[in-house]
Structure formats: C-alpha cells, structure tokens
C-alpha cells in the first residue's frame, strides 16, 4: 500500500453534517455548483443544484464522468469567415464548482491534465480547469470498483476541499488556497479537530480498504501485456465487442477526439467543432485504401494496450483509474477486471481479494 500523508492539521477542519446545506448555499454564491443527483432510479449525474435534499450523497458512480466540465463532448473550436480566418468563440469566465467528486474521478482529472499539457498545451481545457473548483467526497466501493488496485482509491491533491464521512462530521481536508478561502469565509460552519476524529478517520479508511472485492495485480502489467500480445483472448473479445464506443464515452480518462468542419448555409462562413471520438469505432484508423484496425479485436486490444502500457510508458502510470464505469455500461459484458486478470493468468476474477 502506498503511504498516505495526512496533511498537517492546519489543513484539516471538521464540518458538522448539519452544516452541509449551509455550506452548499455559500458555495452557490461563489460559482455554479454541480452535484450528483439521481436522474433515474440508480442513474446518477452531476447537475446544477445547491439543494442538499436533491443531492445523492451516497451515490457510487455517475453514468457519465465529470470530464465534460473540462472537456465537453462537443465544443466549437472556431468560427471562421473567408476573409478573417479562424476565430475562437469566447469562453465563459465564471467559476464552476463540482461538489461530491470521488477520488478516482479526481485522479482522472490529473491524468487528463497530463494529456492536455504535453508539447502543445490545450488552452480551452486549462481555462476550464482553472475556473473549476473541486469538492471531493469519499465513497464506499462496489464489485466493479478497483481503484484500490489502480492506486486511485485516495487522493492527496487535485481538490480544493475533500470531505470524508466520519460519523457526525465530515473530516475536511483543505487542498488549495481557494479551499482555505471558503473555510475562512464560513468560519461558523467549520471547527477544529475533535478528540478522536483522527482515530475515526483512520478506522474508516482501514475498513474501506477491506471492502474492495475486486483486485487486479498491477505490478509488471506492461510486461505481461506485452507477452500476451497474441493471446486468443483478444480475438474472443473482438467477437463479443459491438464497437459501440460506450466504454470510451463513460471513461473519465478517455480523451480521443474528432474534428468536424461545417459551412453555414450562406457558404462564406462556418465552424470547426471538436467531438469525443472512440478508438473502438471502425473508421478510427481508416486511411486511403487501408484500415489499420479493420477487425474489432485489434481495436479492443488497442484500448487496453493504450491504457495499460502506452500510457504508463509516456506518463508513468496507467490511464485507468478503476472507476468501473466501462464494466457497468458495456452491452457485451466485457469486464476490464476479468480481462486484466485473465491476461495475468488468474482464472478467479473478482472476489479474489
């Protein structure tokens, strides 16, 4: 297990649960608050609200990840006219506050940061990133969660405030100067640590670690995947996969995109739009006269190899945060936990830990 540094006490506060509604209301004055709500039975989404009674505090995972707040599914990159060329439409400057983001999704943002930085940083993404505050919230895993294996079950940074349920209070970690500003502005809502709060925090962290049912051994995974490049499993997955692309859409770290140009009706101006794409779609690697990934198995395989090896090589970690969304959503019941375990030669899949 990776060592978790509990920040120095100056960065820790308690928030009585009964004060949460007031905090939300105050947050609403600082920006637009998006929080998890139950849209349909058991289907959660981040929606604009500061109304505590509407917020599903115990949600496990939203159907769509919060990546759309930094990187929308579709966004206009430019308007153009034949005389003036390409002009970027103005972007809102207002602060958005994401409330109730779980550790895996906070890690996912750090991963997207790496992608959108690189040799050619993407200004739209970072503009949004800078005007977005993140209030994290802890959670308890189900069988599709394997963040524990992906080392994303807890976070040390990447949030402004992080709330952990310790009974009557939330144990609040302050992760940014903005977070501290909020705490200072709502002095009455927060208190210092109480006797036993740290013990309770640790006790719950331990209990939570033991709740993970699904495990994937990730050490040496890149080497093992390389050795298994010709494993017949990839063919089997290719036969099952419907190339629907859902796994990419729900993944908090998938970032492929397509770019589409359009003329307006008059024909002298138009727009260029960026849209989420999926490497599972057949046309993804099509070029003149040849498709580099004609069969589905090579495309399914690409998704795994990209996340578990290529990304590791480039950025030092896997781009999967173990959120379980792709498992929940796949119509063909392809399960990343099972796939990775099978590649490792472990027939016992989940419930192994």
């Amino acid at each position: 297990m990776v060592a978790r540094t509990i920040p120095s006490h100056a960065n820790i506060r308690l928030l009585a649960k009964k004060n949460l509604g007031d905090l939300l209301e105050v947050l609403g004055r600082w920006g637009t608050v998006y929080a998890p709500v139950e849209k349909q039975p058991d289907v959660y989404t981040f929606a604009e609200t500061t109304d505590l009674s509407a917020i599903a505090l115990g949600y496990l995972r939203t159907a769509l990840p919060p990546k759309r707040f930094m990187y929308p599914p579709e966004e206009r990159l430019y308007n153009f006219t034949l005389s003036k060329g390409f002009e970027e439409p103005p972007q809102s400057e207002d602060r958005q506050i994401l409330f109730g983001v779980h550790p895996c999704d906070i890690h996912a943002f750090s991963i997207l940061d790496l992608v959108f930085a690189g040799p050619y940083p993407e200004p739209r993404y970072f503009k949004r990133r800078r005007r977005t505050a993140i209030i994290g919230l802890d959670c308890l895993p189900d069988v599709n969660c394997f963040c524990y294996s992906m080392d994303t079950d807890s976070v040390e940074r990447g949030f402004d405030l992080f709330l952990t349920d310790i009974g009557e209070d939330y144990f609040v970690r302050v992760g940014s100067s903005w977070g501290e500003e909020v705490v200072r502005a709502c002095k009455d809502l927060f208190t210092g640590l109480k006797e036993g709060s740290i013990e309770e925090y640790k006790r719950r962290a331990d209990a939570r670690s033991r709740m993970f049912e699904s495990h994937v051994e990730m050490s040496d995974m890149p080497q093992i995947m390389e050795l298994e490049f010709s494993n017949p499993l990839w063919e089997e997955l290719g036969e099952k996969c419907l190339s629907c692309g859902s796994c990419s859409i729900v993944c908090p770290t998938c970032y492929c995109y397509d770019i589409i140009d359009q003329f307006d009706l008059k024909g002298d101006s138009g727009s260029r739009t960026r849209r989420w794409d999926s490497c599972l779609f057949k046309e993804f690697a099509q070029v003149a006269g040849f498709n580099f990934r004609q069969d589905r198995s090579t495309r399914v395989k690409l998704r795994y190899y990209h996340k578990q090896i290529a990304f590791v090589e480039e950025y030092g970690r896997s781009s999967c945060v173990g959120c379980g969304r792709c498992i929940e959503t796949c119509p063909a019941k392809i399960n990343i936990i099972e796939v990775l375990n099978e590649i490792r030669g472990k027939k016992v899949m989940s419930h192994a830990g």
Partner: protein
C-alpha cells in the same frame, strides 16, 4: 497542481490563413500548391525540417496532414504536393490561385538531418513517395558540402506518372548526385529520349555505386514497394537504424492529443503517435511495432 503551471496561451489548433499563390497540375490527380501566409511575419518565421508536415484546412470542409515537399533551404517558399483522394483533397482541387486555406505546423520529427551530415545518403522513392523526400533531397543538395555521396533512386509506372519529372531529370546533369530513374513501362515515343532505366525501382540497386558503411537511406512509396526495397537495402548492408521511412496514418490534431494516429506497442520501441514521434521512423522501429507496416 500541474494545471496551474501550464502556460497555455498559444492555441495549437488554430490555423493561419494562407493564400494559394500557385497551383501546378503535375500528373493525373496530383497537384503542386505553393502557399504564402497572409501574415508576413509568419512567412519570415516559418521554417521546418525536411520530412515534417503541416495541417492544411480547406475552410468548411476539413483538415488534413500534408508533407512539406519544399526544402527549408529555400526560404519563403512553402510547397505541398497533394493527391486527390477524397473529400478534403477534392475541395482543395476546387480552389483557385489566390484562394485561402488554413495552415498550422510544422509538425512531426522530420528527418534527423543533423545525424545524417557527413554520411552518404540513398533516397528511394516510388510514386507519390517523392513528396516528403523532395524536401530532403533539395535540403541536402543545397547544403551539398555537408553530406557524403548522395544517390536518388526513383521509380514510377511510366514517364507520365513521374512527379517532378524535369526537376529529377535535371539531376542527371549534376555530378554531385547519382540520379537513377526508372519506369516500369516506357512509351514508344520516349524510347530514344528516355535517360533512365526501365524496370522496377529495386532493379536500380544494381547500378548504385559504393556506399559508406554508416550511410543513411530514406524510403517512401506505396506499401507494396517497401518489402522489396527494404530487402535490397539490408543486402547492401544498411543498418536498420539508418533506414528511414515516412509513415501515414489518419490524423486529426497533429499534436499528439486526439490519438487517431497511434501505433502499436513493443517494449524496445514503445507506443507511438505518428504525428509527434513520427512521421519519420527507422526500419528498426517498424520491425518492432507490430502494427507499423
């Protein structure tokens, strides 16, 4: 947090307006476009390495990667050779001289010209493959003293399919480059005047003179050509690390983000985006990337 440290003021997706100042039809469905940025400052600043490419936008239609086929040694000239194959290229063909397109770049690694200096160089081109190689060829010829022997092997189906024919034939008159041209089929009316060979580009290797042990080769052409050309080069003793080729993949961003151009994995080479790690790869890379050729 990383997000706070990133300086993202420059928008890497933004194309600059450029004017088509000259359009030359070459062979069927191949045209040479000469461009100039509307912003004179960009014209002064723009430079590239041979083998790099730009993203070319036809307004309202789309954006495609195209190799720069001019040499950075000819400052102020940007030339692109485009084959008409589909939507964007057809829309480009519908434009006239003085019309606008969008350009951003240059992108990609380009040929490792600094490493190539002082060494012999064999350029092998087939068909449209001359586009990225032409920039390299003129770069080397314009900096002739910095390179060892230079040979060009260029094969096409017939003289009518030859790109840059007069330019290539003019090289036959130079004694600082061995220029070997071949056509698979020679038209009757050319029988007496054709100064090249008939046959496949691989047949030209027979005529290739002595080549240094640390020589470089740069290859580009249709997929069918590679296998045989690479075999010839290995037979000649070329090191796989010094056989260079330009790869084409579908590209949307050109800047290592959209993931369209990603190619497969092997630990000794890794995983690559053609747009930023390529488009120039060594044969060694290619033999180690299962998805590469």
């Amino acid at each position: 947090m990383l997000a706070e440290r990133i300086d993202a003021r420059v928008d890497p997706h933004k194309p600059h307006l450029a004017r088509l100042i000259r359009i030359d039809p070459m062979v069927k469905d191949h045209r040479l476009f000469q461009l100039r940025f509307e912003d004179p400052k960009l014209n002064d600043e723009f430079t590239h390495k041979p083998g790099q490419f730009v993203m070319l936008s036809v307004l309202g239609v789309g954006e495609i990667p195209v190799s720069l086929c001019s040499s950075p040694s000819r400052k102020g000239i940007m030339e692109l050779m485009v084959r008409k194959v589909g939507r964007v290229t057809s829309a480009l063909y519908a434009l006239r001289e003085n019309d606008f397109v969008g350009i951003r770049g240059p992108y990609g690694n380009g040929f490792p010209v600094d490493d190539m200096k002082g060494k012999d160089l064999v350029i092998v081109a087939g068909g449209l493959g001359t586009a990225p190689l032409r920039g390299l060829l003129w770069y080397c010829l314009d900096n002739r003293a910095e390179f060892g022997k230079i040979a060009l092997l260029y094969g096409s189906r017939s003289t009518k399919d030859m790109l840059f024919r007069s330019e290539m034939e003019s090289l036959l008159n130079r004694d600082d480059i061995q220029c070997l041209l071949s056509v698979e089929k020679l038209d009757d009316e050319e029988k007496d005047t054709w100064r090249g060979y008939t046959g496949l580009v691989t047949d030209l290797f027979r005529h290739l003179g002595e080549i240094g042990e640390d020589a470089y080769a740069a290859v580009c052409g249709p997929p069918v050509m590679y296998k045989y050309v690479l075999e010839e080069l290995l037979n000649k003793g070329f090191d796989k690390n010094r056989i260079l080729m330009s790869l084409e993949r579908r590209m949307k961003c050109g800047i290592g983000k959209c993931a369209h151009c990603a190619i497969g994995y092997h630990s000794s080479v890794g995983y690559r985006y053609v747009c930023i790690h390529g488009p120039i790869f060594t044969y060694w890379d290619a033999t180690n990337l299962p998805e590469m050729i």
